[in-house]
Each structure stands twice: as C-alpha cells, then as structure tokens.
Amino acid sequence: MNTVKRILVIVESGETGIKPCAFETVHAARLLADSLGGTVDALCLGLEKAQADSLVHWGADYVKIIENPLFRAVTLEQALLIIEPLVNSEKPYAVLFSATTHGKELAASLSAKLNVGLATDCISIEVGEQGEIMVRRPVYAGKAISHLILQGSGPHLLSLRQNVFRGSSPDTSRIGKVELLDLNIPDDQLVLKIQDVVRETGSQLDVTEARVIVSGGLGMQQRENFKLLEDLALVLQGAVGASRPVVDNGWRKYSNQIGQTGRTVQPDLYIACGISGAVQHLAGMSAAKCIVAINKDANAPIFSVADYGIVGDALEILPLITEEFRRALGSAN
C-alpha cells in the first residue's frame, strides 16, 4: 500500500484557546508522519481561524476548523457526530488524541464505533525497520510497560500522555492549509447537555499538565502546612500533588492525588515532601524526569526512586527551598 499515510490529530481547546497538550500531540504526529512519509491533519472544534497557524507551526499540514463557538465546550456526543463521519471519509492511518478526560472518552467511544484498536496514554511512538509502528504505554499505573505493534490498515487510535511529547519550539516558517468546515449538529439529535464548566479555584495547574509537581504526604502533618507546597509550586510555576492518605484525610482534593488510584504523572521535576513512597504512589510518579525526596526517615522507599534526597523535616526545609529558588530565579513572587 503506497498511499500517503495521513495522521489525524483531534485538537483539544478550552476557553483560553488551544491547550498545550494539543501542540504536543501535533508535534508527535509530525514526527510520526515524517517517519512514514505522511501528512498531518488537525481537527479543531470551536476555534477561531486566527489560532490555526500555531498548529501549522507545530507540524500540521492541513487544519480543519469548525468556528462555531458552541463547540468550545463540546459533549462526547457532539464530538462523535462530527469526528466519526470525518474519519470514515478521510480514512486516516492513525488518529491521535491527548490523553485527557475528553480525549480518552472520545477515543474509547470511537474505537467501539469503528471497531478498531485503541492504545490509551501512550508514552512513546516509534517506527521500526520494516515501517511498523510500535507504541509503549504504562499499565498497572506504570508498574509495567506494555509494548504494542499496530497491525492492519487503520485507523489506529492512540491517546498520548501529556507532558511526554513536548517539542523544543514551533517553526514559524512552516506553511499549511487552513480550511473552515461548515458543520452544524441539529439540537434535537442531542441528549447530553453541558450545564456548566467550573474552573478549580486557587490551583495553578492540573497535575497532569504541570512540568513541576510539589507533592506532600502525611509528613506534612496537617492540611494548613500544604501552604508551604503551594508557595513553592507558585515560584516554580508548578502544581501541588498529594499522596493517597492525604486525600483520604480530606486535606487535599482527589484531583491532587498521585498514584495508582489517582493520577499518573510525568513532570520534569517531582518534589516529594513527607511522602514515604507506597508502591501505589511510586507507580504514579516514577516516570518523572527528575525526582527529589525530602523525608525524615532515611529508609523511606521514596529515596529508592529519587535522584536527590534530603533527609530532614519537610516543614523546616520547604520554606528554605522556596526562598532559595525565589532568589535564584529572581522572581518577584
């Protein structure tokens, strides 16, 4: 089969425009398309045309936009009604999603609609010597890695873990084609309705999107002490994470929980404070590029996965670290 392989990216956007994870997914699609001699299509719902260029700069050849502002908060049902026919008519070899709440449910639904395979939360995509595509994805929250090979004509559905496929910088000289699709879904076909979208207050970033996570365990001793983590996260422009017992105690929200029954994350830097390192927690954060552990107990399992450790009381050390970073980064925070 010598037809050009097309990679379709479903671009996720929010109130503030295209989400950073969408650029990562476009970037990953570009690398894959280059290895296959293929092209990258990007589909965006509810975006303005002016924003399309940035997708081209990150690697899209064709950008398809549905400008309808109603699609800024799109239900699973609406997304399927738009995407399924498009995939059927354009026959992409692979469809790439960001492994977000929306991306994952859309990919899973589409796999059933199209009767094709799915790999959720991929952390690598490679093309082998015979042109075969291989992906890896964590299972058991990262306690093991599953290696998969794509077989058949497609479309193969892949959702990509956030923070893993970051490119260095966009190429502003790239040129692509931007096309406006005129699509409307009659309301009477729809049963799901979004009543509201609520932003979490007080938090900087979602843990799955953050490059730096400052995370606390029972060693933080009480809810109020998480302020120390928030201070450091603010200076590092990161997010605050927590271990399961902390969430079970009601000190932090579930969306902060890192681990096998919480969120699995892959930041550049993970600072574990007062976290002993239960096996479920280690599963959720061990893929971080650099891990720092601060714990009173020199024998805590967290030190076995850490790159750097300080044995001591996190409550005492955290303000010093925040101060030192603030000084070093010359930040006014």
């Binding site: 395979g117 992906v135 093991a144 049963v191 309705k193 239960a278 650099c290």
Partner: protein
C-alpha cells in the same frame, strides 16, 4: 430502577508487579474488586437507599476466580450478580468484552449502568464508553457527583476535567464511569458477608448470548501487545548531606544547572 454495575477483578494495588516470560506473574498475588468499581457499586447502593424501588445487579466477564469478586460485591450490598463465563470468552479483546457486557445488559434490562473509570491493571479506560456505544446510550465519564431529577428520569453529573469540572445533564438510561471523590465505599459488614452467601450468582455463557467468536468481524486495525517490560527507572539516589542550609543551596543549584529542570 435497575442499576447494572460492571465490575472486574484486578491484582491488589499494593502488589509489586513481576514479570515471567514477558507476562505479569500473578501467581500468589491478592485479587480485589477494581478500586474504581467500588465507587460505582457504592453509588448504586446509595441510590437504592434513596429510592427503594431499585435493584443493583453486578455484571462481570472473566474466569472462574471472578466469582470471589462478585461475592465481595454482593457482600457490600448488591442484590444479585451475573457472571459472563465461558471458555469462549477467555481470549476475547476489550471491544468484544464491551460488546458482550452490552448484550448481557440488554437481556437484563437497565435504567442506569455504572462502571469504574478504568481497571487499574490495563488502565485502558475503554470498556465503559464502548458499552455505551454498543447500547446506543449516552455516556458520562469520571464522575465525582451525581444528582437525579425529582422523578428520577434525568441525571445531573459533575465530572473531573483537567483543571476543573464539567456539569453535564442527561436523560436515563445513561452509562456513567465512576471515580474517587464520588463517595466513600463501605466495607462489607459481617451481616452483608453472610447474606452474600445466599445471594444468586447467575452464569451466562456464550450460548445464552448467542455469541460465536467468528461472527464478530475482525477489527480493521489492532494493537497487539508484543511484550511487557518493567520500567527501567532507578533513581540516582544521591543524598545531599551537610547543614540544612547548605543542602538546600546545593539542591537548587543541581536542579537548575545540572538537571536543568527549573
């Protein structure tokens, strides 16, 4: 109201995963009800407390040993259980699993289906939405709150999205996938455990679902697992000694200049 709760048996999250011939060596590891399915079951039980006309049925597809997990769910309070059990189900892929769960759901009848947000073994998060597609019903994933209209025919669901939450309204029937934050699952009481022994676990085989593996057309694209590996991470394990002040200064310097992560 009839609520179906789809459940799976998984390896206990406290277990370390070891491999044997590129597969998970599950021998001797404890098996539990998938933690996310506990939230699904708990939510169903709470609805039954508010609406006594409710029946809660567990549905699971898996080998003989899944019976223990169904028993555990019955001990928590489910009314009865349905076990999709047949040698022909042994090697089915996840879409076929979803298809079969959908077939079983159709024959049982339902107003509401709950699943866990994902099974904590394969972490695919595929079954719930796929079952909804096969049943042609709406699907809301990763619920943290569920409310009903007065006449119990509509739901308003709050679910987690990155950096916030979304509030979605749907008529029944609907399939919801559940997660932590939704409720606090109960522990089975002694009375519950005793009562569970008398509750029915109905077995549904391939024949009852009119399932012939060859009849389902093969997917046009598949992702086949070639092997499993263990993550290769080992920390550098450098303990920074010295006075607290010195250690902190050194750490910040390393993170900025050597690791370049800040």
């Amino acid at each position: 109201m009839r609520i179906l709760v789809c459940v799976k048996q998984v390896i206990d999250t406290a277990a370390r995963i070891e491999l044997k011939d590129h597969k998970v060596d599950g021998a001797g590891l404890a098996r539990v009800l998938n933690p996310y399915d506990e939230f699904a079951l708990e939510e169903a039980l709470r609805i039954r407390e508010r609406n006594p006309e409710t029946e809660v049925i567990l549905v699971s597809l898996g080998p003989e040993c899944f019976r223990d997990t169904l028993r555990a769910g019955l001990a928590m309070g489910a009314d009865r259980a349905v076990h999709l059990l047949d040698p022909l189900f042994a090697e089915v892929d996840s879409l076929t699993t979803a298809y079969l769960l959908g077939q079983a759901a159709t024959s049982l009848g339902f107003d509401l289906i709950f699943c866990g947000r994902q099974a904590v073994d394969d972490d695919m998060a595929q079954i719930g939405p796929a079952v909804a597609v096969y049943l042609q019903i709406p699907c809301i994933t990763v619920l943290t709150k569920l409310e009903f209209s007065e006449d119990w025919d509509r739901v308003v669901a709050t679910r987690q999205i990155e950096g916030g939450s979304e509030i979605i309204e749907s008529p029944l029937p609907v399939l919801c996938t559940c997660q932590k934050g939704l409720n606090q699952p109960r522990l089975p009481s002694l009375k519950g455990i005793m009562a569970a022994k008398k509750k029915e676990i109905e077995i549904i085989d391939a024949n009852a679902l009119a399932f012939a593996p060859n009849e389902r057309c093969a997917p046009a694209a598949t992702l086949n697992q070639t092997r499993l590996s263990l993550p290769d991470r080992r920390g550098k394990r450098k303990i920074i000694d010295g006075s607290t002040n010195d250690a902190v200064m050194q750490l910040v310097k390393i993170l900025r200049e050597q690791e370049k992560v800040v």
